[in-house]
Symmetry: C2
């Protein structure tokens, strides 16, 4: 059963021609090209309620020449092409709505060069976040963006990913310095130099970051790195309401405390985690925090936060800089996804990621919880509360049509609630297949200019069709 | 005499028709439109060696409707339109290379709304940096980007400006949340919501930031704000070589010291400032620093920097948190422009702004100083050394043709030196009229895609022609 509605009208004007491209790809790539059912099934969206739509074939690329050859063949014939990393996208980005080929980027997994003095690294797109940080460990540097999954850097770049420590380190938009990209006509461009800042022409780097594979295929990424903090402290604190918790967060940020992570779990989420992980956290809105810095700075940050939290009725603030204590404390956060899945095993998990100005966050969360209660929906909430971004993890039984209908209406209300509070329908997952109407509702005429750019840079519409527009 | 070469071939395909537009603008705007010589002379590039090229008329806009009407008339007739803020651009952005009209944005100077809880402000483009910070003082927040001049926020956005404290707070690219823009066809778009992060479609905000007025006219800007630091400490330190100074900077940044400003003055610059401001700074490469944070954090940062500087032979490190001492210390930096001008009154001042990965900075500066010595050129250097960005302030007598020729060759070598070190020809001033060839040398085929975007979004080429491309 289709749970989420998808509108592909923008792409219907393009004429696709898959079969002749497949023949040329077979000729060109031999064993590197597969049309087997199992390979195709592995190269589609599986971590979303959007139903899998299989590509007609899969190219296994090993270098940028493979990527360029694939794009040239697909461009010649007018064949859709969908870049594939580890497949952890939550918005149907990997589905072949119009058929075509998936290009598997996992073998482009070299770390090309680290420049410790410049705090930069250049990687191929198939490098994963964990692979990168393991590699970097001896340099004393790390790459902070952590969207949860062990995603590929290429995928994270394409969705403008962020995650738990964006509040301190920013998102992919802030941490990509330069890209090498194979454009839709097969031309390879470098979008910027390796300088930390630049006013050299239009910011093609940022245009490509978050373009969800619809403008080109990324073959190299230069990233900013950060020194591994001397000290990491972690803490937690409960509040009697979501409003008190978010007010404490607002005050913390205004006070200039450079908190590295500040995550909110609502009561439903705390209950789910308690059940799943055999914890006994108090059943109240919970903040989890992490502080990075020198020993004295982490101590100062923790103490300042403690003072602030007391003003908002925060209870039982505990913090520790021991790794063991920290891991224990963050277990609740890491288990969120599994805890929610386990709490209703017959249901499908629907990810959402609205983001609002932080002053509107408690109002947005409370209205959303009321909305779920009124409609008998179950969706624990976890939030990157320092950014105003939160996830309702809606659990829906796809066999119950009424529940599916109620859920679709709820999702629309959620997106519009965020938009009406001057927020966005997507803080970090991307538009993908399911949020195109919400993007229009959010930005209206700006979307026409996105379409102009798409049409000019990819006139045959071959780059990951069916997404964003 | 023309000092810098300008190539306008990209724009030659457009057919401009100024006179009929002028008639319609006169009819529409009456007293708000002027063709007087003195007004036209005030609305052109005067802070650059590019010779002034006057617009045919000037519209004084008071609101976005005025902007939209102007753009619609210019779009209809095919008339160039050049947005004008305070006129502090250094790259000839305000010149009317193809005639047309200047649109004066200074009366769009309202601060529309401050959201202290969200640390955001929305302003009109004519608001200046100092006006904004004066207005914000009571909120405990400030806007950090400081390009030196009291520039308009619209101009700073359009050139992707940065300045002394980008090392901590980033550039305009990092601090613009959303824009309202009148596009070349007269349509008004909002590029993003007010959420702190978003994955909602192509990043039109970043495409417009740094587009130098060539894609649309900005009518509203939403910015990130920061808490005014509890404590500000400032310090200075001399080194026996530029390399030692930059090595100390690299180590400071790697150690995670969140330095707010770190500026380098070379020996020629120190001498010029000593003469002009009657100081007696030691004639050696000088670092000026500023630390922001809590009292204890500023003390810790200063002490850590002191330790690091000693490892690189730093001398006489002094720091203070008194406002008076700080102002005295920064006087040397603030006087740089006037000191250089006064040191050779008969000469013209040519601004440059290459930016390289910081690991290459001392090499780039030293080769540049040697180059000037070999060619009898005089150009004191000041640098935003934490970003790898430095300014050679070349002083050239335009009456001496040989000097002009030597200078032009030097500027080309400087740009290519930076590009060959994986840096950029422009870190913060923009491409404007004079760096188009260097942009091509730096990014090659990527510039073709910039041209496609320009042609698609502004098919008649009316938006600030002659710049960037």
């Amino acid at each position: 059963m289709t749970i989420l509605k998808v509108n592909n009208s923008f792409y219907e004007k393009f004429q696709y021609n898959v079969n002749s491209a497949i023949k040329d790809l077979q000729k060109e790539f031999g064993q590197q090209f597969s049309t087997s059912q199992s390979v195709r099934e592995q190269h589609t969206s599986t971590t979303t309620v959007h139903k899998p739509e299989l590509p007609d074939g899969v190219v296994f690329a090993y270098n940028k020449n493979d990527v360029q050859k694939t794009v040239r063949i697909c461009h010649e014939h007018g064949c859709p092409i969908i870049p594939f990393g580890v497949g952890s996208s939550l918005e149907g980005h990997l589905n072949a709505n119009f058929g075509g080929v998936s290009i598997d980027m996992n073998n482009l997994n070299n770390i090309i060069e680290v420049h410790p003095e410049d705090s930069t690294v250049t990687v191929q797109p198939g490098v994963t976040r964990e692979q990168l940080n393991t590699y970097l460990r001896d340099t004393g540097l790390f790459f902070p963006i952590d969207p949860g999954a062990n995603a590929s850097i290429g995928g994270m770049t394409s969705t403008r990913a962020s995650g738990t420590n964006a509040v301190r380190y920013g998102t992919m938009k802030d941490n990509v310095i330069s890209l090498e990209v194979v454009m839709a006509n097969g031309e390879i461009i470098k979008t910027a130099s390796r300088a930390r800042k630049s006013s050299a022409g239009y910011d093609l780097t940022r245009l490509l970051v978050g373009s969800e594979g619809t403008l080109g295929i990324i073959t190299e990424i230069t990233l900013k790195l950060y020194g591994i903090p001397e000290e990491i402290g972690a803490g937690r604190c409960t509040f009697s309401s979501v409003k008190d918790a978010t007010d404490a967060v607002i005050m913390t940020i205004q006070a200039g405390i450079p908190v590295a992570r500040i995550e909110l779990l609502d009561i439903a989420q705390v209950k789910a985690v308690n059940n799943y992980s055999k914890l006994n956290l108090p059943e109240a809105p919970l903040l989890l925090l992490e502080f990075h810095g020198s020993k004295s700075s982490v101590k100062e940050q923790s103490e300042l936060f403690n003072e602030i939290s007391k003003d908002f009725g925060g209870n039982n603030f505990e913090w520790s800089s021991s790794v063991e204590e920290r891991n224990k404390l963050w277990k609740a956060r890491h288990d969120v996804y599994y805890a929610v899945k386990a709490s209703r095993p017959e249901a499908e998990y629907i990810a959402t990621d609205v983001c609002v100005p932080i002053s509107r966050l408690s109002e947005c969360i409370m209205e959303t919880i009321e909305d779920m209660e009124k409609n008998n929906l179950y969706g624990p909430i976890v939030g990157h509360v320092g950014d105003g971004n939160f996830h309702v993890q809606l659990m829906i039984d796809p066999k119950i049509q009424k529940e599916v209908d109620v859920a679709n209406d709820f999702l629309e209300r959620l997106a519009h609630r965020a938009i009406n509070m001057d927020g966005t329908c997507t803080g970090e997952h991307g538009v993908g297949q399911g949020k195109k109407q919400y993007l229009l509702d959010e930005l209206g005429p700006a979307v026409d200019f996105m379409k102009l750019i798409k049409q000019e840079l990819d006139p045959k519409g071959i780059m990951n069709p069916g997404k964003i527009l």
